[in-house]
Symmetry: C2
Subunit: 198 residues, 2 copies
Amino acid sequence: MKKVIPLNKLVEQFERMPGIGHKSAQRLAFHILSLTDEEIKDFTETIVEAHDKIHRCSICCDLTDQEVCKICSDENRDKTTVCVVENSKDVMAFERTREYNGIYHVLHGVISPLNGVGPEDIAIKELVSRMNNTDINEVIMATNPTAEGEATAIFISRLLKPLGIKVSRLAYGIPVGANLEYADEFTLLKAIEGRKIL
Amino acid sequence: MKKVIPLNKLVEQFERMPGIGHKSAQRLAFHILSLTDEEIKDFTETIVEAHDKIHRCSICCDLTDQEVCKICSDENRDKTTVCVVENSKDVMAFERTREYNGIYHVLHGVISPLNGVGPEDIAIKELVSRMNNTDINEVIMATNPTAEGEATAIFISRLLKPLGIKVSRLAYGIPVGANLEYADEFTLLKAIEGRKIL
């Protein structure tokens, strides 16, 4: 097949992105070709700007373009409760509830020996060092309900409990709006175990 | 919700791309943040290079980084047969058959009055002017089997027939490997009409 080299390089670049297969990469590459010079300038500048300016908050390790992120620097947030999450997308998910008013800690991953990720590879020591300086009295472990997320939650709780900090875990159960028929047996079991008196 | 402005701008840029919703755009933006400086440079340079270098072939209007594309400049291709397609992806699809040895003409769209696309907005005049200079004796209309593709094929055939050129259309029928049960009635009707003696 006769190929146009710069086009192929572009398709390859898009193929490296998560969730983008060959067909999608082609579609994105043709979209790039259809943009004006102005739009291309805008697109590449936005990429470079975001990549240059965004780094970790010096307190909670969430991504920010400031020294301290907006949540950590917000005086109305409850600084006594820290919700520990795997990544920034999880912070966004909790913020969408509009109810949680505490602060966060972003681990940027989970302990996963199979993938070569140990406790020192994620932001655990930053979390532990936060415990010394502040009036934090509860840490909510909000890692994903997967084997790795669970192991990470347990690992961290064992580090924090000796420091006299209350460590809690998100409740397991049936998702709101779901159909019991399709719930897996582990979730159902957890839902029965965690049942509440009406 | 507290937002990081450069990140949001990046997510918005990705959301403008075809087939990319909010969740995918977020995932791509976080992927960008995870790249090294080197990889970002490579990515943005590839975009700019592709956008700058790729233009239409002066003969067939397919995308190329040369004056004349590889297919048009290939001496082994049969220059008497032109396959007229809607876009470059269709050229790639025909090339994957490894059987078609003629040349192409890329319209870059179809006539679609509802979307404000008239005959002058796609590469029809370039196709007509090719008929004067060369020894082309057959034009295969390979626009999509949609209402617009069909109308475009008929429009072009009416322009070319008076010039004494044989104009053909791709065969309609059951796709190879498909299940008759799921074929729509129009396709089945076309398959019966176009049946061949065994």
